[in-house]
């Protein structure tokens, strides 16, 4: 395994800082908005910035899929449902059981803080310090990821397409209008 390391150039650092600021800022805005439409829009920003982060990891195929699937298809679904309900939240954070949930957030924050501390301490490890695209031909392109999908991962690929089919049929079944004479 050849783990090439080099110091990040200034342009790389600026791109990384801007994109991760977009990802984390967009995520924070998403979970703090009272109006779900604003939340969906900032989630689109988050996913677009995340696609940029994927591109800096030389995951070109996944970056394009991120824009198409997340920022495109899934967000359109969310926008449709938000428009259908079309009501603001009266209380963004309800008080029922707030103490328990706040304790949960604090506990989760402590766990993530400890894991981040560990990652930061062990950042000298070769796998955590690697900075460059590995010397693999066509790393992360459509052709090489697609070749892997249709050879080693053919069965999981077909299974996940079956899962998607079942999910879509299930969604149609759940939301379809029952005829009046069949309502129990």
């Amino acid at each position: 395994m050849n783990l090439a390391t080099h110091t990040a150039t200034l342009a790389e650092m600026i791109a990384f800082a801007v994109l991760t600021a977009g990802v984390l800022g967009g995520g924070l805005v998403t979970i703090t908005r009272r109006n779900p439409v604003s939340a969906v829009m900032s989630l689109v920003l988050t996913f677009a910035a995340l696609a940029g982060v994927f591109a800096t990891l030389s995951a070109h195929f996944l970056a394009i899929l991120q824009v198409l699937v997340y920022a495109g298809a899934i967000m359109v679904l969310f926008v449709f449902v938000v428009m259908m309900m079309n009501r603001d939240e009266i209380t963004p954070i309800s008080r029922r059981g707030l103490g328990t949930r706040a304790a949960g957030v604090l506990a989760a924050g402590y766990v993530f803080y400890r894991v981040a501390w560990l990652v930061n301490r062990e950042r000298g490890l070769p796998v955590l310090a690697a900075t460059e695209t590995p010397p693999v031909k066509d790393f992360g392109t459509v052709s090489s990821v697609g070749a892997l999908l249709f050879s080693d991962f053919l069965f999981p690929f077909e299974a996940i397409s079956l899962l998607l089919l079942v999910a879509v049929v299930g969604a149609v079944m759940l939301t379809r209008h029952l005829r009046e004479d069949r309502v129990p």
Binding site: M1, N2, T5, A8, F16, T20, V23, L24, G27, T30, I31, A39, V40, L43, T46, V53, F54, L57, A59, L62, Q66, I74, L77, F78, E89, T91, P92, S94, R101, A102, G104, V105, A108, G109, F112, A116, V119, R123, V127, L128, A129, A130, T131, P134, V136, F139, G140, V145, L148, L149, P156, L163, L164, A167, V168, G170, A171, V172, L174, T175
Partner: protein, 99 residues
Amino acid sequence: MPTYAYILVSLALFFVGCAGVLLRRNVLIVLMSVELQLAAGTLALLAFSRALGDQKGHVFAFFVMALAAAEAAVGLAIVVSVFRTRRTASLDEVNALKG
């Protein structure tokens, strides 16, 4: 940028999603927070995939994306059918299955 920077961003994004799921009571925003958590997982997969020079991480990130699409479709369908009968999108008021 080194891999650990991406892992720290992924941790922070997962925590943001966690806080959204725990604190918010609007079911739509809870679903969006779950999407944030799945995206954070994808980011960690891609970062380690690059560090190890192995594209299997990309394949698993692809599967996570398909899973997120299925989850959004079914979750939103359940939200719509609950909203149609109960006229609410608040998790506090949807407690018919509570023991």
